[in-house]
Amino acid sequence: MILKPARFFVWCFLLLPAGIAVQDAFAATLPKSTQEMLKKLKLEPAILSDTDRELQVPNSWIDGAKKEGKLRFFSTLDPPQADVLLQPFRERYPFIAVEYSRASHEDRAVRTLVAYKNKRIVTDVLTGLGGSFFMYKEIGALEDMRDIPNMKNNPEGTKDPEGLWAGMHLRYWCMAYNTKLVKREDLPKRWEEVLTNPIWRKGNLALGNRPQLWALVLWKVRGEKWLKDFLTKLFTEVKPQLRREGMNAMLELTAAGEFHGNVPAAEYRVYQKTLDGAPVSYTCPEPVPAAVSEMGILKGAPNINAARLFVNWFLSKEGQIAQYVSDYAPPVHKDLRRKEFLPFADQILGKETGFRDPAIELEIQPKLLEFWDGLWLKSGGRRRGR
């Protein structure tokens, strides 16, 4: 049947209120905190229309989680951010008391493993294993998560084929700069320009001791020779300040003017700093080093069912939107790779991008670290502590 234009508009006029009513009714089924998040982001509730399906899990997981009643979770979020993230989860699963702990990379990656080897499981879910995954894999410390339904939402390359980790959000590890000290025209469009522009010399550039976050991807995209040449010139000609602080501390120092810019810096952290009014911004030379932050469940975790429910929820659209609202980290969910979920999108989208994956982590990382350490120590930097 073909509708005439007049009839079509009449039908639309009649169905619109019904559609709105259905949408409102659906929105009302969402947790209140989720509704507020959608309002904040000016998103239609329809974006979460398949949430019920996404959150369907075996009943035994729910029953098990009810018995456990608890979930321990280590991550990098500030506690107020974690509160924002966890609010919808708490509303959906009120029988699970979430014990969140902010933990530095060393606490998460190394100390948790030391405790694990000492037969102590200090957390159920842990995140951001970046660079330390191989140690966990080696001793079989991670649970296989392939039975978690929402693992399928993660595109290939953002989850472990063996199910030992799942990407929780994206990170673009580029460069932060002080807007009072650096003009836009001085920003490097390609990494090579960092070597040639004199503005980055005389200690104006700070380098963090985490090459696996960015240089590893450049090795993958441009090759070994290119990267080694680039790094050699960077250390010997540009002579950046070699800093021992964490990436967030370096950003704080860039904002304060200790240096003009720092490498690496993640887009979401810089964005948070701009919201405080700090004179910092973010730029991404090509190729853009991208990575996913990993999330895993410790094998033998006492709250395994609660952990499964949590990871499944986190990888759902609702969880992914909640984590974006909490700290502006771009979602990894295949349906949420959109401009409005990406701070400094103009610096990232449309550029040549390389992704870090565990394969290069296992193969290239040891070679990279060996080469990097040589340059770092020769230039007066502090040993990473191998």
Binding site: P79, S104, R383
Partner: protein, 573 residues
């Protein structure tokens, strides 16, 4: 022989306890230095070898670390002792006005943790963003000289300041109890006042001074926080930070055996210094300067230098307490780090304090700290008392060894002791201690035992044996004698040791950094260290401000109580 000394069983018990607390971790430290396994849990005889020694001692960097450490310790002690000696001399031997401020103010500097002091000075003298350096640049242009705190000189300056209060407290009694007859004789013979000070006073003080220097040298050698905050960012290592750098890894499983191999240097130093210190103390009577005569030293008239001298004292107090506090107070209200300006003042916020209130970890760290500190202080006080009772009062065969065992941990840095206990707790995993605050508490108790026993030895010596014997003759049981005689008489010593331990346990980060497992057993010092490391400068400033206020109040209460006690004793006399 007193009643207490008849209980040989508990003598052996105390001896065995201290022996195991000190020697067990040190044995593991030595054993671990030969282990090529990454973790103590993987240790086995088949993983033993010399690899760690070869790796560590064939590294030219190790010798640079050695040189840095020697310069750092020597410089800090020289500066600290010079300042402390000057202050003690000014208050005890001159007519400088306002002495009460020095007596009250200098010990109060103990309340400012070295870690916070170093952080405050970073905010002041970081080469590019330090508030003072920025002011210098504003005044004299971009070519103005920059004062860089991230240097060996900066570390020496700050550690020197930090050593002053303890050295001052040790030197004041020396100055006070010295018979002025020789000085007066020099004056009568026509010597000028400063010449008398140099040629007579200082020489009379020399033996005591050397003992104080050795003690302070060991303290500087042990300190981790100041070289950690100022040296690590600039790649300047001393032994304690080098060991920390080896075990601190964000990517790889650390090779603990290498840290152990490097720590052997400390063990050697500990053995040598303990031997020297014990020898020095045992020969102290040769240099007796207190006589039975009643005397009152004649204060040196400073003339027109009276007020400038007071000014210098205030400058020290300003640098040590007021300035760090003001810097932290200011930074705690900033949304992000920026130099003082009208815009910065306008943008001030309570965000950092709110963040602390929302940080669940702050609450956990606070609770852990209170429990850990209270348990450590109580355990140290009690154990020190019983050790000293054996050492001073008994004829127990091993009492001298016991005294030396109790002293050894002072010469071993907390971070090394931490690694030693790390091996013990992980290897003896049937003890459910690793990863709890009890691990930190045990480590600290052993570390503070040397101070506790020095204080208790002196205090027990002041209680005459007659009292104990009278109680015994009257039929009192040993424990009743302890409770009714020793406890009331030694209460000031108990309180003194307890509070000293509280003030130190709350501020030291080195050992807890090794023994903590994660957010659940972290204490305030670790929280501050980690927050600083991760760039939460505002939050560190907020927690630092609050901590300084609490510790300053605690110190004021102690000083007030002390003054009241002295006043009451004075009135009684």
């Amino acid at each position: 022989m007193g009643a207490l000394s008849r209980l040989h069983l508990w003598h052996h018990g105390v001896f065995l306890l201290v022996l195991s607390f000190v020697l067990l971790p040190l044995s593991f430290l030595i054993l671990g230095s030969f282990s090529t396994a990454h973790l103590p849990t993987d240790f086995s005889l088949s993983t033993m070898g010399w690899v760690n020694y070869l790796k560590v001692y064939s590294d030219p960097g190790t010798y640079e670390v050695f040189t840095n450490t020697v310069i750092y310790v020597t410089g800090s002690v020289a500066l600290g002792i010079t300042l402390a000696l000057s202050l003690a001399w000014l208050v005890e031997r001159t007519n400088m006005p306002g002495k009460i401020w020095v007596y009250a103010g200098v010990p109060m500097t103990l309340a400012v943790p070295g870690m916070l002091q170093a952080m405050a000075w970073v905010l002041l003298l970081s080469p590019r963003i330090g508030f003072l350096n920025k002011i210098l640049k504003d005044l004299f242009g971009p070519a103005a000289p920059v004062i860089d705190i991230y240097t060996l000189g900066g570390m020496i300056f700050l550690e020197g300041l930090r050593l002053v209060p303890t050295a001052f407290l040790m030197l004041v009694p020396l100055m006070r109890s010295m018979d002025p007859a020789l000085e007066e004789a020099a004056a009568v013979s026509g010597a000028r006042p400063f010449s008398t000070t140099r040629k007579v006073t200082l020489r009379l003080l020399a033996p005591g001074l050397v003992a104080v220097m050795v003690y302070q040298g060991m303290t500087a050698l042990e300190v981790f926080e100041i070289p950690g905050i100022l040296g690590l960012p600039a790649g300047i290592y001393v032994f304690s930070t080098k060991i920390y750098a080896i075990v601190r890894s964000a990517t790889f499983m650390p090779v603990y055996g290498q840290a152990n191999a490097l720590a052997m240097v400390y063990l050697l130093i500990a053995v040598v210094t303990t031997y020297l210190y014990t020898r020095m103390i045992s020969r102290a009577e040769r240099y007796t300067v207190i006589t039975g005569k009643g005397y009152r030293p004649r204060p040196l008239d400073l003339g027109r230098w009276r007020y400038p001298a007071l000014g210098i004292v205030f400058l020290f107090l300003f640098f040590s307490i007021i300035m760090p506090f003001l810097v932290f107070l200011y930074a705690s209200f900033l949304p992000y780090l920026q130099s003082p300006s009208v815009a910065a003042l306008k943008g001030m916020t309570l965000k950092n304090y709110r963040l602390l209130a929302q940080y669940g970890e702050v609450g956990t760290a606070l609770t852990n700290t209170v429990i850990m500190v209270a348990v450590t202080a109580t355990a140290t006080t009690l154990l020190s008392f019983f050790v000293s009772l054996v050492v001073v009062r008994s004829k127990f065969w091993g009492r001298k060894l016991l005294d030396q065992l109790a002293f050894v941990p002072h010469a071993i840095p907390g971070i090394v002791m931490g690694i030693a206990f790390f091996w013990v707790f992980l290897k003896l995993d049937f003890l459910p201690i690793y990863g709890t605050i009890w691990a930190i508490s045990i480590g600290f108790t052993v570390n503070f035992l040397s101070y506790g026993t020095r204080s208790m030895n002196a205090a027990i010596l002041q209680v005459h044996k007659e009292l104990e014997e009278a109680a015994y003759v009257s039929g009192a049981r040993p424990w009743r004698t302890l409770w009714r005689i020793f406890f009331p008489l030694m209460l000031p010593a108990f309180v003194g040791v307890w509070i000293w331990v509280v003030l130190h346990a709350v501020r030291i980060a080195g050992m807890p950094l090794i023994l903590y497992e994660g957010p659940k057993n972290q204490v305030l010092a670790i929280l501050i260290w980690n927050m600083w490391d991760e760039g939460y400068v505002g939050a560190v400033a907020a927690v630092g401000t609050l901590l300084m206020i609490i510790l300053l109040l605690l110190t004021v209460v102690v000083r007030f109580a002390g003054f009241r006690r002295h006043a009451a004793e004075g009135a009684g006399a």
